[in-house]
Amino acid sequence: MSDDSDRNSRVSRRTFIATTGTVGIAGLAGCGGQSGGGGSGGESGGDSGATATDSGMDGEGSQSGSSSDGQNASLLTAEGSSTVYPISNTGSSYWNSNAPPSDGEYWGSNSESTVPGWEQLGEPDMLIADYFASKFGFEPTEQRSSPPFPTTVGLSHSGTGCEAVTDGLVDIGNSSGPITAELDWSEEQAQSTVVDNVVGRDGQPVVVSSDVIDAGITELTGEQVRAIYQDEITNWNQIDGVDYDQEIYAIGRAEGSGTDTAFRLNMLGDANASMSGVDTRFGQNQQVAQAVSQNEGAIAYMALAFTSESVVPVGIDFDGTLYEPDRDAEHTIFDSDYPLNRDLHMYTLIEEDNPNGGGYDAREAAFINMFLNEFGQTIFVEGNNYIPLPTSDLRSMKEQVSALATEDLIMP
């Protein structure tokens, strides 16, 4: 080695770096060849070559992919709603980085931190995209920043996303409203054209301060919430069966904001309903959480991620159905038919050239599957202040994608 550097001192530094770089790549290719050899035999040389040079992502990469299992490794595209975008795009960023299990912050575990849901996934010794893609028959690349297939997410509107996926322009159409409403379709047309993958929910659970919970109020009826926000109930003891003499401090959101409008529409019955009972308004979830925690008798609605011991979600009884804050209950505040929630969809097109003419190709199924477990729900859904799916919904979504899985998926 010292011999080498003596000789190279006469050559320019650039040549030196280029030379050693080539040597390094050659070495990597060798390693890749060996490890790949364990997996799929003779074709693995081409596979690892594509990885090492990084150039054959679409060409050579997909060829080698197709040689293993008929897999298409081209770019996975998604587009649509700005509401779904944070979930979809964070997922895409995680996917494309293909972080190793030693990372700890984005994937896997190390001495400093562990990603949520890591144990439930069985602590796989694989890179993030490698792991989720391998469930659907893709070859692991075993290299960070180089996923088995790359993904990208565009930003437009719900309707545009639905249209783009129907026309085959993108693989996944993100929408915050059902496609039946966005494109004015009938239920049958929707079911025969696209698969509806719900990855999370957007909603505003009703929360109260801890002293209200201590006074025994763990559920309210929709009618009571409406009466509180319309100044018909101003003290907690005006609610039947409650003996807690405390003025109600009703917290609302910025006047005319999306959250405000959604609450008026779903809780008070009309987007222009009066909110004469509101005592204060805040623009941000953090402010709401802070105000609820430091005042007595407070009630508010805000993103689930900001709840805590002093900011507690309550169950709401709508027309005799009690939606509980417990994730495993029969009806939960995480449900789709809880009136303050709406589903966040990632639509995929039912195509003839998909396996079995189904609703997914392997890339779509692999990518969407990443969101359907505790890891995905915590990082991508809750991490963006949305409501994670309750266990039962998670299971039914998982069953949809499992049709294409080459390995058994871990059920929630």
Binding site: E247, I248, Y249, I251, G252, A254, E255, G256, S257, D260, T261, R264, D270, A271, N272, A273, S274, M275, V278, D279, T280, R281, F282, G283, Q287, Q290, A291, Q294, N295, G297, A298
Partner: protein, 375 residues
């Protein structure tokens, strides 16, 4: 002597100006004159281009820069003259454009909020004769009354805090404190003015407001009283600093004269120093009031953000909304009339500050003419 009429005086003044320009033209080297003209014309063209949102604006502006560069090297005197003139003009122009803009933006909602008096429809009147603000549910009303009330409440409390405290501190620093104390305390007070308002607001939101809500048994947090106190504390450094300057610029001879006839220090302070520095001290308090009216961040985070009057009107234990916090809280979500209503709040603030600064100037002018050139 003939009495000179107003128009004659104006004509004379205009004639004088024309004469000055004519003198400038005759006295100046023609080459310099050309450069100066190019600078002025190109800047004017750039301004017109800017107003017309033209892509070609860059051309006259480049000509302006080039001409200025050339002029600075070759005819520095004339170029500097024109440059300083254009800078002054553009300051006034920018102010004018801002005023025109905020007034223009507020026109639609003023028309919406018209009210009829004696058969005459007065635009915007309804914003001031009823007190209901509701941007979402019927009837949609954009009354400014609750915000004006809030601003007045906060300002009154803030002035009650900052005025006496500030003037007392200024008196102590300027008349009583030993030099060494003053050397340390005065810069300290000025540093206090540099604390960002959000810091005060944050302390107010997390500590003062919940505490006040507990103590006064109010429903939830947010009161004009504590916003006023916090804003008063924020205005305090301004008041102390300006009032101290005014007090210490009272000539030593006046104080000595008073002491010589046998008054005590306190009598000198109250009957000589304070009256002599009255214009400066009131300017200090008015500056503090201005700061209190304009204070946004602390008010926004501490107030409730629901525009309505408190009951009764003098109830300072509930704090709803001020003109500034209305704008700060709603600009992100507002559209249509609601957005225009925010501009109306801006217009009201603008007019108020204008009145206050004219008032301050007037007090100063009165004092000067009365005391014959005091501080």
């Amino acid at each position: 002597m003939e009495p000179v009429t107003r128009s004659e005086r104006l004509t004379a003044a205009a004639g004088k100006q024309v004469q000055r320009v004519r003198d400038f033209v005759t006295d100046t080297d023609p080459a310099a004159l050309v450069v100066v003209t190019v600078i002025a014309v190109s800047l004017l063209a750039a301004f017109v281009g800017f107003l017309a949102v033209s892509n070609l604006t860059i051309l006259p502006f480049a000509v302006f820069l080039a001409a200025t560069g050339y002029g600075w090297v070759r005819h520095q005197e004339e170029t500097a003259l024109v440059l300083t003139l254009t800078m002054t003009v553009s300051t006034l122009l920018i102010l004018g454009l801002i005023i025109v803009f905020i007034f223009r933006e507020s026109v639609p909602v003023l028309q919406y909020e018209s009210a009829t008096v004696f058969g005459v429809s007065v635009p915007g009147l309804r914003m001031f004769v009823q007190s209901n603000w509701d941007a979402v549910s019927e009837p949609i009303r954009y009354s400014m009354v609750p915000m004006i009330h809030g601003t007045v409440m906060v300002t009154v409390v803030a002035t009650a805090v900052a005025g006496p405290l500030g003037v007392a501190a200024a008196l102590f620093l300027s008349e009583i404190a030993p030099d060494i104390v003053r050397e340390f305390v005065k810069p300290g007070v000025e540093i206090l003015a540099g604390i960002p308002s959000i810091v005060y607001g944050f302390i107010g939101f997390t500590i003062l407001s919940p505490w006040a809500s507990d103590q006064f048994r109010t429903t939830g947090q947010g009161s004009y009283l504590f916003v006023g106190i916090v804003v008063g504390l924020m205005a305090l450094p301004t008041v102390v600093s300006v009032a101290e300057d005014a007090l210490s610029s009272v000539p030593e001879s006046m104080k000595s004269g008073s002491l010589a006839v046998g008054t005590t220090d306190w009598q000198t302070m109250t009957s000589i120093t304070l009256p002599a520095a009255f214009s400066g001290v009131s300017a200090a308090v008015l500056l503090g009031v201005g700061r209190a009216i304009g204070e946004t961040m602390a008010a926004t985070v501490m107030l409730r953000g629901v525009p309505r009057l408190t009951d009764p009107l003098v109830n300072v234990f509930y704090g709803q909304e001020t003109l500034t916090s209305l704008i700060a809280r709603n600009y992100g979500e507002a559209d249509g009339f609601q957005m225009d209503a925010l501009f109306v709040a801006g217009v009201i603030l603008f007019v108020t500050v204008l009145v206050i600064s004219i008032g301050a100037q007037y007090i100063e002018w009165r004092m000067r003419s009365k005391l014959g050139g005091g501080a």
